[in-house]
């Protein structure tokens, strides 16, 4: 029992009587840290969105005079009021980096893993509140570095979010590869530390701090998703660290890991013997798992919200867990599908094609299970539910194009065109973003004790949903036509002039979609202070977080941590009085709806209850 005492009394009721600084700034409470991640993530999302609209202006209105943006962009505009070509690359790079890492990794996992893991597994807090706080502050400092790099005179990193050398290694190649790239690397190193601290905490908490009765087979799917995401993070981020470390040495100490036979301005560089392909291997060994780090939490959130709002048990719980696990494993063996055109052995290409296409199977299982959960459900179209359904839609449309890209022969045509951009923005960008929004709408009542406005939520959803398709669907056609991504302008190429209209539509849709996010921001901040007061369990949901009071304090439950008797998806159980039975309701209280094997379990409950009392007396 020794270990139990130990894990339990951490935070046992000792109320935090902190001042402003310890309560809101350097808090070790997982709920406050989650909100810190959320707010920082939202700020980044807004900035990332604005950057994308600026470069969409260039693509959608190639002849426009943008000198009205002079107050913001200053020297980044040319004399004719055009965006400077190098600045365009910097915008694309920063947009990608911010969205992938700062919003959809830190903002998403940081918010929801922190908020939900202790609440849903029944723990007072994370395994180490201090490490959790450090995790946020490393993220914050990392953010500061990245943010600073936007304002330096040589501009931020401009080699793409994948920072391929030699472009990223040589300041002579592009001005963004100077100080901007150095700041990028420092920022990402700090980011990796933050992510590892967070992940270690998430895994430890899920494994060691579950409440009595919360076996792995009773974990909500959210927790399964966060748990496996953290494991992927622990295994893949160190590899990015290695890649970045070697790049740092190439940039600052004259080594040649990635550089060989390079001439700049007719002059040969001294570096010999390096291989830029090596960087791609290292990067994508992180990079592909990273896309699942971004997506899996969103899928977990969706599972929870769809089951709750369909008033039906999730279809195929075990299959859902199995497919997340299978995706997590496969995500480590498909990285070379990003490198089909690097001159790899075609046989190797076929192997990676095969492995890549296998991922479609667990992905399809998940979509199938979402649809069967919704099927004939008692649907409630809350904003959270709408965004979850949106996620399923994007996951499907974006995933299908993945199957095309996964074929090495087809990818030779499509690689680095807008087709790829369309693919990953639907399947990763928009799907995860919708997962995050769904999560915010759904757990807002537990975070802030108030409800968000549903009408504004629906308006936000419909504009964003249609907007996203208007932005990314046309990109498939542009891409199939061969239009390369990351090109500053296409008007010099006669072939592509026919796409001016399409690009115009895309840009307008992008602006409207960004505009719709302000509805959300208003709703968010207004509801925080003026929203309708929420009840403790406004969605009639089963998981443990809804058994806490309206505003859970430090330690989450004022009294005992509830014991768990059943899985989290007992919605609309035949015979039951209500259409939901929370996880902490023993079977002995629901004789009318128990299945035969559940009646067997009643005998155990009394014993468990007593066992706990005995334990309590001991300490």
């Amino acid at each position: 029992m020794a270990h139990d005492t130990h894990t339990h009394d951490e935070g046992h009721g000792h109320e935090h009587h902190g001042n402003f600084w310890t309560t809101y700034i350097f808090s070790e409470d997982h709920k406050v840290i989650a909100k810190q991640f959320l707010i920082t993530g939202m700020a980044w999302a807004l900035l990332g969105g604005i950057l994308s609209v600026i470069f969409r202006l260039q693509l959608g209105f190639p002849d426009a005079n943008l000198s009205w943006l002079k107050p913001i962009l200053g020297g980044w505009l040319t004399a004719e009021g055009k965006i400077d070509p190098e600045f365009y690359l910097a915008l694309v790079t920063m947009h990608g980096t911010i969205m992938v890492f700062f919003v959809l990794t830190a903002g998403l996992s940081g918010t929801f893993s922190n908020f939900l893991i202790p609440l849903q597994v029944g723990a007072r807090d994370m395994a180490s509140g201090f490490m959790n706080m450090l995790s946020y502050w490393f993220f914050f400092i990392s953010s500061c570095f990245m943010f600073t790099s936007l304002f330096i005179s040589t501009g931020p990193a401009a080699g793409g979010w994948v920072i391929y050398p030699p472009l990223s290694a040589l300041p002579q190649a592009i001005s963004g590869s100077g100080l901007g790239m150095t700041l990028w690397l420092i920022s990402m190193a700090l980011f990796i530390v933050s992510s590892l601290l967070g992940s270690i905490n998430y895994i430890t908490t899920v494994i060691n701090l579950r409440t009595v009765g919360m076996s792995f087979s009773k974990l909500p799917l959210t927790i399964w998703a966060f748990f496996l995401t953290a494991i992927i993070g622990i295994l893949s981020f160190p590899v990015l660290f290695a890649a970045a470390l070697l790049l740092i040495f190439d940039r600052s100490f004259g080594t040649s890991f990635y550089l060989s036979d390079i001439y700049i301005g007719g002059e040969a560089l001294p570096n010999q013997g390096g291989s830029p392909i090596l960087f791609q291997h290292l990067f994508w060994f992180l990079g592909h798992p990273e896309v699942y780090i971004v997506l899996l939490p969103a899928l977990g959130i969706t599972s929870e919200i769809i089951a709750t709002n369909s008033r039906k048990p999730i279809f195929g719980y075990k299959a859902m867990v199995g497919s997340i696990l299978f995706i997590a494993i496969l995500s480590f063996v498909v990285w070379a599908h990003h490198m089909f055109v690097t001159g790899m052995n075609p046989f190797l290409g076929s192997i990676f094609t095969l492995l890549t296409l296998i991922i479609a199977v667990p992905s399809a299982v998940k979509i199938f299970n979402y649809v069967t959960t919704i099927w004939r459900g008692n649907l409630r179209f809350t904003p959270g539910m709408l965004f979850s359904l949106g996620l399923v839609s994007f996951f499907l449309t974006g995933g299908i194009t993945g199957i095309f890209l996964g074929n090495s022969a087809v990818d030779i045509q499509l690689h680095d065109t807008y087709f790829v951009v369309a693919h990953f923005h639907l399947v990763m960008g928009s799907a995860s973003f919708f997962g995050m929004l769904a999560g915010i709408y759904h757990w807002f009542p537990k975070m802030f004790g108030r409800m968000m406005n549903e009408k504004l939520g629906s308006i936000h959803f419909w504009i964003t949903f249609i907007g996203v398709y208007m932005v990314f669907f046309p990109m498939h056609y542009i891409g199939i036509a061969g239009f390369p991504r990351r090109y500053y302008t296409w008007t010099n190429f006669e072939t592509f002039s026919g796409f001016a209209d399409l690009n115009f539509v895309v840009s307008v849709a992008a602006i409207v979609t960004l505009g719709a996010q302000f509805i959300f921001l208003f709703n968010f901040f207004y509801s925080m202070f003026r929203g309708r007061i929420a009840s403790a369990n406004p969605w009639q949901s089963n998981t443990l977080e809804w058994t806490t009071p309206r505003n859970p304090g430090h330690g989450n439950w004022p009294g005992e941590i509830p014991t768990v008797y059943r899985w989290p998806y007992d919605y609309s159980k035949p015979g039951a009085k209500e259409d939901f039975i929370p996880q902490n309701i023993p079977f002995s209280e629901t004789p009318e709806s128990n299945l035969p094997h559940e009646n067997e379990l009643i005998k155990l409950e009394g014993v468990e209850g007593n066992a706990i009392v005995v334990e309590e007396k001991k300490h």
């Binding site: 590899v239 155990l604 014993v607």
Partner: protein, 197 residues
């Protein structure tokens, strides 16, 4: 309710935590997993890069054999210190911990002079990637050893101030695990470098 009844039924439903480990110790293992991945990445990169040719062959410094022996010895003394602390034999534990720290320092110094041997053999950080890899891999391992020595010194302080005894072994156990891990990691790296030159 009789106790045997409890025991009986627990076998059926087992409401307890299946993997009950101390959270901090568990976190330590996760940390070591990520350190392992870092070195796996570097050694894999090494193999990939080597397969592409233009690879300068190098001799490993003879000192690396000595440091390998040192680190094995330090693992043994660490384990002795741990065992002694567990038996509340504090004075013996102290001495062994001190010896471990000294051996740790010795290892670092040995590695440093190993680098000097490399330089005399015309292998530099800047140059063909084979040499660069050698320096980065050994250097990064050395940095981890530095962190472990800091941990050792903290433990040394804890033992001296009587904060470690048979009932307070968590940190001591973590320190021991980490030290063994870094020793094992070095042996892996050393054999790897011997095999793939």
């Amino acid at each position: 309710m009789s106790t045997d009844n409890t025991v009986d039924l627990k076998i059926v439903e087992e409401p307890k935590r299946p993997l009950a480990m101390h959270p901090k110790k568990f976190g330590m293992w996760l940390f070591m997993a990520s350190v392992m991945m870092l070195f796996m990445a570097l050694t894999s990169a090494y193999i990939v890069r080597q397969a592409e040719g233009n690879w300068v062959y190098f001799e490993l410094p003879s000192l690396f054999y000595t440091t390998s022996v040192i680190i094995i010895l330090s693992s043994i003394s660490m384990q002795w210190s741990y065992n002694a602390a567990k038996k509340d034999n504090t004075s013996y534990s102290k001495i062994m911990l001190l010896i471990t720290s000294l051996l740790g320092f010795g290892f670092l110094i040995g590695q440093f002079f190993g680098w000097k041997q490399l330089v005399t053999g015309n292998i530099y950080l800047v140059g063909n990637p084979s040499g660069s890899f050698l320096y980065i891999i050994t250097g990064l391992h050395g940095l981890h050893i530095v962190s472990a020595i800091v941990f050792l010194l903290i433990m040394l302080n804890a033992v001296y101030t009587g904060k470690v005894d048979s009932k307070n072994m968590t940190k001591m156990e973590m320190c021991t695990t980490y030290w063994h891990f870094l020793g094992g990691l070095w042996l892996y790296l050393f054999i790897f470098l011997l095999l793939y030159r």
